[in-house]
Symmetry: C2
Subunit: 421 residues, 2 copies
């Protein structure tokens, strides 16, 4: 079979863009032999001359602007590494309308602009490839699109952000508080100077939107994903959870229950025996449940120049081998009616209590009155009471806790953490 | 885009064949919508009338023999569920020469006959699809073929047999001996009446051959895979290993070291912190290391009607969407020269020793003389000495142990288990 020659443009030569350039160079011959495509970097777009020199890129392929790339008939695939919505969105729309396929690791832009990109791809005839947008080099997208066709997916649970998993792993293993761990993560380059995108769960929310949309074959916009970060996690609760057999993780969760979807990002306790509980440090994993395949977990590095570059290059090769591209014509509208906002969960509640007789009984009474079942009670000290509930609607839980906080023996609800079992 | 209609024949309606039939029936409409292919079971081949009735199959689609299927122009894909080499091999070769694609879960046949099937597929123009042959519904094959293109794979480590993992997990968790666990596995239907294919490592060897051939892009015939089963594993060693921080698993291993390949199946100790160590019971997992992606692990159910049926149906859909099929033109010959038989490993050795002064010193002397480094020594009791070595060639290790067994204080080498770190 004749080798297919494919011209690629790289927009941005930062960490992942540079890693991708290096992989495409070092593996060009191997890919030609194994996959029958010859992938050539025909153009790059980056103003940083020092970086271009550092990567050993021939000045002749440096484009002066996006139009030069869009108008170049030798380019079939445009891979983008800018991050952020603009100018990535505008540049990729131009490329798609010009008939090119796009490859991106940009979860924020992709989760926000997927529909718009989809329309441009339909019109131009190119394809959308975004394996690198979620869980780095681990083939979570390809698994959802090309290996789960026999399944109705019933839930996704993912550790999809390395920064927060690093911080929570350290808090858990070493008993160090959140602020100290965050500073350490920043020192090591795992967290940004402004860590909000990671620690407040935005990054996980973008990824949840992309993964859940694929899993349930309907658009789940970020506005429909409830989100809590890890900044308020107290190291005490991680330790108490441990005593109860739980590990705390920031999870991207979505579930299909009775035809309704729920999608959320928040810290959650998992039983220690759950495969996700042993995913430590900056590693990521996605746990997929389908009605035929049962449980599948995909694990690996969620970030980094070469792991993410590996996914980008895989997308380029996968795309290069296709004559027609997969479409994702999910509509937005139906979502508005079938997203469950008031979802059910098991809860871990820590109460600060006064040293008063009968407080436990009174708290139990309030919960019972509100039909919140109690699974476990742990009286840690005279002033700390921990309760694990049965599964209950969030609205019911919040009402019960408001009432409990009115009790004379209760100072306050000091922590409320969901438990996934 | 017009929906593509695809006719499928199912050869054999046993556990997985029946599961596949049920999935294809229940998910036909979903697959049509999501993947734009309408998959119809046009023929089945099975003599068991009761089973055909139980599955609710219309008698009109029951074929009288393979030729009826091979000659039916409405069939594009033949899926085989017989197990064993014949008649699966003959039937699938006929189908391939007739231009049909094949889908199979039959690791024994596929690992033994891949080249022959490949030639028939090339001639007929159909494709080979065998995702279900390894790790059930978990997309290990698709990951190796379609997601690792940017990587030179450096090693595979897999728990690819559920029966042995169930037995070893129980031995480890409950301290029960091998024979008791095997009987329990047989009672539960996890092990066959004749358990040899599983416990002696044949099944894992077949899978290792398939997975490693894909990973390193060269044929690794089963004859080149060294194989040891779990029948001689002593529950004592599992317990001693635990004390040293290790978990015992039956692993399918292959490694690319300095251009040479090694491929083997044997019980091995893994550090408890290794992600494979937490793969319990009948679950399977494959741990892939690539030079760019770093470590990736895929985890899930390695067997069962629906998980394996999920992989079969995924292959059918994947195949149906293709106009040309991937070829695996790996040649056999080169393997003969680049397989390393005398591989290096870290070893756990348990000696039965006599109550004599100075035995440890003498054993250490023999090891030292043979350049076998010692990492850890554990004197369990007056008559039990355990040593963990540094990495050493197998031939060197065996020679050193022969000499150690000649020492007056040494009764015998009671256990020798490789350690993967």
């Amino acid at each position: 079979m004749a080798v297919k020659h494919v011209g690629v443009a790289l927009l941005g030569l930062g960490v992942v863009g540079g890693g991708t350039y290096r992989i495409l160079k070092s593996k060009r011959e191997m890919i030609r032999q194994n996959d029958n495509v010859d992938i050539e970097v025909v153009a790059v777009l980056d103003r940083n001359e020092a970086r271009i020199k550092e990567l050993g890129i021939d000045g002749g392929i440096v484009a002066k602007d996006i139009d030069e790339i869009v108008n170049n008939p030798d380019i079939q695939i445009v891979a983008e590494f800018f991050g952020g919505v603009e100018p990535a969105r505008t540049f990729l729309l131009k490329a798609l309308y010009a008939g090119k396929s796009i490859v991106t690791a940009n979860k924020e832009m992709f989760s926000k602009c997927w529909q718009e990109l989809e329309k441009a791809a339909e019109q131009g005839g190119g394809g959308l490839y975004f394996e690198a947008s979620c869980v780095g080099g681990v083939p979570v997208i390809r698994t959802l699109t090309d290996s789960m066709q026999a399944n109705t997916i019933t839930s996704l649970k993912g550790i999809v952000n390395g920064t927060t998993n690093y911080i929570l792993s350290r808090m858990s293993d070493e008993g160090v508080d959140y602020d100290t761990c965050l500073k350490e993560a920043q020192r090591l380059g795992y967290a940004e100077a402004n860590p909000s995108a990671d620690v407040d769960g935005f990054d996980a929310m973008y990824k949840n939107s992309i993964l859940s949309s694929l899993a349930y074959r309907r658009r789940i916009p970020i506005e429909n994903i409830s989100r809590e970060g890890i900044a308020d996690v107290n190291v005490k609760d991680i330790a108490y959870g441990k005593e109860l057999g739980y590990t705390l993780k920031l999870l991207a969760i979505s579930k299909l229950k009775d035809g309704k979807l729920e999608a959320r990002v928040h810290p959650a306790f998992l039983p220690n025996s759950h495969p996700l509980s042993s995913v430590k440090g900056s590693f990521n994993a996605l746990f997929i449940s389908g009605d035929n395949v049962d449980d599948v977990m995909l694990y690996g590095r969620g970030a980094g120049a070469l792991p993410t570059g590996s996914a980008i290059v895989s997308d380029i090769v996968f795309c290069a081998g296709k004559d027609t591209h997969r479409r994702f014509p999910f509509e937005n509208e139906q979502v508005q009616t079938d997203i469950e906002k008031d979802f059910s969960s098991v809860y871990y509640v820590r109460f600060d209590v006064k040293e008063e007789d009968g407080t436990l009984g009174k708290v139990a009474g309030v919960l019972n009155k509100n039909k919140v079942g109690v699974k476990t009670v742990l009286q840690k000290s005279a002033d700390t009471l921990i309760i694990i509930t049965n599964e209950v609607k969030e609205s019911v839980m919040r009402k019960a806790l408001c009432e409990a906080e009115q009790l004379s023996g209760v100072e306050r609800v000091a922590a409320l953490i969901r438990v996934e079992e």
